[in-house]
């Protein structure tokens, strides 16, 4: 589904991703962990097409498409979804209208009929139960005045409605209280199918108690320095990153 090969990315001449490789297959959940500033969000942004990043070399092929050459909205319509680490507020833009517009853009792209107001509302009502979100938030402008946790739930609600093939969750667990964490995780688990995949960026093993990953990768200084199964996350929780970093810094 997604194949990243030797990806080098820099910002204003400063290398951030330095030869990153990642293979994601349908149905898989990949967790990406790693110290602050190691390039996790950068990876998420580059995959979703944010401007300001210089692709120096390497490739990212998604469903046989050359991802890095596509406009961000086309990537979204092709099924890539990013749950933002810091969801932005858009004053005055109604949350529901926005989401309806988004869904219909995606449906149009797929050649499906657009949903009318009523069908859309019944869908959103159903999906809202997954994240146990307060209906109030639907009537408010996008993320405006939402608490940190509400913003994160809103991201997952959007994911539930848009039903992406490849979802990238950038620290969705940060800022969630314990109940919310469980709710969001169970939402993800319910949305999981054999044909969609998740890349879950997190600092905490506890999320991975709820969303069980198939693979855990450690990103450091723009490279994946270690990959393993869910046990790796437990080990990281116990030992921190130091033992890995030391190893990777020694000449290979």
């Amino acid at each position: 589904m997604l194949s990243i090969k030797n990806l080098h990315v820099s910002i204003e001449g400063k290398p951030i991703l330095r030869g990153l490789n990642l293979e994601v297959k349908p149905g898989e959940i990949h967790a990406i962990m790693g110290p602050n500033g190691s390039g996790k969000s950068t990876l998420a942004h580059v995959l979703s097409g944010r401007e300001g990043y210089q692709i120096d070399s390497g490739s990212a092929i998604y469903k046989n498409l050359n991802l890095l050459e596509m406009a961000p909205e086309i990537r979204a319509r092709e099924g890539i979804f990013l749950a933002f680490q810091y969801p932005i507020e858009i004053p005055g833009v109604n949350n529901t209208s926005f989401l309806k517009k988004a869904l219909n853009e995606i449906r149009k792209h797929r050649g499906e009929e657009e949903l009318d107001a009523i069908d859309f509302l019944s869908l959103i009502k159903k999906q809202m139960k997954l994240v146990e979100m307060n209906e109030d938030l639907l009537r408010r402008p996008v993320n405006q005045g939402f608490s940190g946790g509400e913003k994160k739930r809103n991201e997952i609600l959007q994911m539930a409605v848009l039903n992406p093939e490849l979802a990238i969750l950038d620290e969705t667990d940060s800022g969630l209280d314990i109940d919310a964490l469980r709710i969001v995780a169970s939402g993800v688990n319910k949305l999981r199918t054999e044909s969609n995949a998740y890349v879950v960026i997190t600092h905490y093993q506890r999320l991975l108690d709820h969303i069980i990953p198939d693979f855990v990768h450690v990103l450091s200084k723009g490279q994946i320095i270690k990959s393993g199964t869910k046990e790796l996350a437990l080990e990281l929780e116990e030992r921190g990153y130091d033992w890995l970093l030391e190893k990777s810094e020694s000449p290979s």
């Binding site: 979703s48 944010r50 961000p72 979204a76 926005f98 853009e105 009523i118």
Partner: protein, 524 residues
Amino acid sequence: MSIVSSCQFLFFNLDFFVQYALLAMNMDRKNQILNSENDKNIALSDEQQTIQNITNQDYKYGFVTDIEMEEFPLGLNENIVRMISAKKNEPEFMTEWRLKAYRHWLKMKEPKWPKLHYPEVNFDDLYYYAAPKNENAPKSLDEVDPELIRTFDKLGVPLEERELLAGVAVDAIIDSVSVATTFKNKLNELGIIFCPMSEAIQDHPDLIKKYLGTVVPYTDNFYATLNSAVFSDGSFVYIPPGIRCPMELSSYFRINAAKTGQFERTLIIADKGSYVSYLEGCTAPMRDENQLHAAIVELIAMEDAEIKYSTVQNWYAGNKEGVGGIYNFVTKRGLCAGNHSKISWTQVETGSAVTWKYPSCILKGDYSVGEFYSVALTNNFQQADTGTKMIHQGRNTRSLIISKGISAGKSNNAYRGLVKVSSKAENARNYSQCDSLLIGDQCGAHTYPYMEIENPSAQVEHEATTSKVSEDQIFYLNQRGISTEDAVGMIVSGYAREVFQQLPMEFAVEAQALMSLSLEGSVG
């Protein structure tokens, strides 16, 4: 049913969640709720499908120079003023009034505004009698620029109205006339007078004598004085005591609008305890050969009366290089004459090359209320200098100013507002909020709030913000599948939401679509 349509369709709510509430009440009503017309509206409001794939909104038709006039020569002198008055069969007092204005105008100088730049208008080189016949007018919609037709599509302008708006030479607009007559009969029953100004001068000379020029005197300012001398036509509205006008006075005007010419004059009187909501203009672009527009609107609200006046202005703005376009110099003023009266101005200004406009309220009655809600959008080389004046004279008067300026391209957008509290206005209160939104970095936004406070009990608050459409916001929407142009349209509509909410529903939907259209080519 033609005219009622695009400015008037049956429609539930701009806001999606109202339908949401309906859904919660009763899912089975689906079919009742959503007829196809509604679907169209929801599509318009929520999705602003307006903007894809049209390159820039090049205006469709330049000014046509080859104009055939009736018997009126070029330029302005007393004779022309008399001829205008005679042509309209006006009573003597009206002719005299026009002449007084003309003589006064001769002594005046055209104002020079620091923030507006435009070539000088040669007033001797204009025709002062409306309705020039244009031989080059398209004979049918097939001859109209397809771009215009597409704009109509995007705005949902019904077929029946398109010929009119595109300036197609049609002799009679059969459907329209009959609908207008139906309206008129209904209004007549209630004693409401709603007719062209020229008709009112003939049929209601007493009302005209009593009120015309009482809010905007003929000496008021250069353009207002010119208008008083040569005004072409406009609307006259009188609402009798205690009557709540049952419909938005708009669609009828929309027919008239094509013929009112460049010096419009409108007078609205709401007698004691009455209410009226009036819509001026239309979102659909209109063909016009006149470059200079100098209109006057006078509103008078008696005790306990309320007037809501909404404008959507979309005159030709000039091309992308800043050539051509309408100069729009308007004097709009409302008088809250009676206690507890209220006047509310709402405007969405997207057109014209140069706009100079300050809808104002004189709060004379005690406890009277003045409101001003404005969205002014400028793109390319457009210039807008707009705002309001709130003149507090009565006790316990209140005013509210919400101004949202949006500048894109190389345009300039200025808010200029005055809050004046005179010495007798005990406990006057004003709240002003003036926000500017910038798109790109070549445009300008300026705010000039003036205050003259002569009574210490006044509470006057002013807030101003300037913001940019942020790339993070655009990316967020992109990431959800929404194109950049749609994203900007949504962000801008969201920004102007407070003002749109003031507009009658059907107008709000169109206005939102219009904003997106006007912003085409401003990003990317």
